[in-house]
């Protein structure tokens, strides 16, 4: 009995000691995605990130998103961008970027854990790319604000533009135009190009769909259009009833704010609604979605997106490194890494506060989703592309600069 007690006490002490020492551990995934290196750094346990670093120390950027998602693989863009920057000599005179990629599974609790992890001073994270979703952003923004780490998010919910700032200067940067702006563009496209009176809105019950719906509804109602709306689940496989209701309402054009575009376009075709023009948010422009559709389903579809794959250098890079076509998710994180890198160069250091100030002053960084320019709401992206389809081949209908 005494032995068990002694053993247990020893184990407790050992555990506490190891835990205290490993709370200073740093890990990094090298930019090209090869085997991660982890090490316990006892002396660096409490070094604040602002301490002048040796000139060859890597610059750590956190990357937060869901890793094994179907079709949405933002981390690939980040990996590619970091690789390119490192190949051309890194930043600040030879310092290499090291990405720390963490999976938050698009869940609030895991996002909190990742944010807390990145905020540990011992990890020396200069900036974070992510989270990808609005709900994760809402869950973690206070953590990053308090820790003073600038982060560029891909969430587009309108509420993100109105977050309370913990410090006077906010560390939150919105990498994409909000749902409100994108809905604005979609709505204006409808108003300017179609002579209709009745509008149908098909939206999904996620933060993304809800946000789009509210914005669209407001704009159309202000301009005295008749609006009828139907909600679908983003994993719904049968939306016949919603489409029938829209058809019954007599709408002449539909704005579809949903990821579920393959099912929507197929069932619209099956119900004989294929001649109704559809303005979709960004999904239909994604290759893996429109290749699942048949040409006849999407002749009258356009998609308002931030990124259109025209085979540029970035797209070729993703194709070469990962073996599949580049999509919006990779384009976003690729652009954010470059934006963060430009801010680091402008700040002249990897101190998070200095980088934040530089980010707030960004005016001209080229990214696949447009020129990054920080405005008063900390929104970085201001261009949209409208993509149409002919024989299932996408082509650019128009570009919008806000």
């Amino acid at each position: 009995m005494k032995k068990i007690l002694a053993m247990a006490i020893t184990l407790t002490m050992v555990f506490s000691i190891t835990a205290c020492s490993t709370s200073g551990a740093t890990s990094g995934t090298s930019a090209a995605g090869t085997t991660p290196s982890a090490g316990a750094d006892m002396t660096a346990a409490e070094t604040p990130a602002g301490t002048p670093a040796a000139s060859q120390d890597p610059i750590y950027l956190g990357v937060q998103c869901r890793i094994d998602n179907a079709t949405i693989l933002p981390q690939e863009g980040a990996i590619r961008a970091a690789k390119e920057i490192n190949e051309t000599g890194g930043l600040l005179g030879g310092r290499m970027i090291e990405l720390v990629i963490e999976d938050d599974n698009m869940q609030a609790d895991e996002a909190i854990n990742v944010a807390n992890k990145f905020s540990q001073p011992s990890r020396k994270i200069t900036g974070v790319i992510g989270p990808w979703t609005s709900t994760c952003t809402l869950a973690v923004y206070e953590i990053y604000e308090k820790a003073g780490i600038p982060f560029i998010v891909s969430g587009t919910a309108a509420t993100l533009e109105e977050l309370d700032k913990v410090n006077d200067a906010s560390y939150t940067f919105l990498g994409r135009a909000s749902d409100r702006t994108q809905a604005d563009i979609a709505a204006n496209y409808v108003i300017e190009n179609f002579d209709v009176k009745k509008i149908g809105i098909l939206y999904e019950t996620t933060d993304y769909g809800e946000g789009g719906y509210r914005a669209l509804d407001k704009i159309f109602k202000e301009k005295n259009y008749e609006v009828s709306a139907q909600a679908i689940g983003y994993t719904d496989v049968d939306i016949t009833t919603q489409l029938i209701k829209l058809r019954q309402s007599g709408c002449e054009i539909i704005v579809a704010w949903t990821v579920n575009v393959v099912v929507a376009s197929r069932q619209m075709f099956e119900l004989g609604m294929a001649d109704i023009p559809v303005v979709n948010s960004s999904q239909m422009a994604t290759a893996s979605y429109y290749t699942q559709c048949e040409a006849a389903w999407i002749e009258n579809w356009v998609s308002v997106t931030d990124y259109f794959n025209e085979g540029d250098a970035f797209a070729q890079g993703i194709e070469a490194d990962f073996g599949h076509a580049a999509e919006l998710s990779q384009a976003c994180y690729y652009g954010y890494v470059y934006t963060m890198a430009a801010a680091i160069e402008a700040a002249g250091s990897s101190d998070p506060k200095a980088v934040r100030d530089a980010l707030a002053a960004i005016t001209q960084v080229e990214t696949p989703i447009g020129i990054a320019r920080c405005d008063e709401s900390h929104v970085l992206n201001h261009t949209s592309v409208i993509v149409g389809f002919k024989d299932r081949e996408p082509y650019i209908v128009g570009k919008f600069e806000l």
Partner: protein
Amino acid sequence: MDIIPQLLVTGIALGFIYCLIGIEFTIVYQSTHLLNMAHGMIITFGAYLFGGTMINGLGLPYWLGIILTVLACGVMGYAISALIFNPLRAKGMIFSLVACGIFGNILASLYLAIWGSYAFTVPGFLSGVITVGSARIAKSYTYIIITAIFLIVVYELFSRKTRLGKSLRCVAQNPNAAALMGIKVSQNINISVAISSMICGVVGILVIPLFGIKTTMATTVALKGWIACVVGGFGYLPGTIVGGLILGISETFVAMAIPSVFKDVVSFVILIAMLLIRPGGIMRDKVR
């Protein structure tokens, strides 16, 4: 009024999908008394194998791809039964729930690793529309209805007329008695699960034009199929048909009446109401 045939066909087609899933679920439950929560992943495997490997990868003709996929699913089912279900039988339902759930997650990661992260489909497979009066029906729905009826008839014949089928039923009803009669219980269970998995494979192939091929394609229908079993009466095959049809049709019609987004709530309310009013299912009196 002219939308009623449209809704009816949609409801019936969905109902038959639920019914097929209910059948394969019941087969496993009857022989092992375990809930096969991984069946969604077996359906997905059928779809991935057919779409990814047979057609897109190897370019085989449809009929050959179907046969090979179904056989592969049978083999997979046999393996799962031998390695997982038989050992789990003694431990009880909770263990099978949890173990199958985790196993399903592992399979999902496996599929992403083998066939890539992007969703895809088999272009032109079972696509097209036929017009019946005022209703336009997807061809894939008609294939589903025909295949489902065919499978049910074949399975009933197999179960009642063939020796193997009868011994499978014996094992399901009373494993101890069956063992005393010289039937190899474990072996039969493996075969039951293999048959169930073959049906899963067929379902996976049939729903490719409807759901696309991705790891989440079968999660909702797998759950609804389970409900169909329960509504119809666990263990009685024609009951599962009734259950599936009731579920599919009522879902579709109710979704016209209320905000459609609450359609899934309807299925679960039907489920709970059914369980409270008539716990054995609609055809309870016929359940042996």
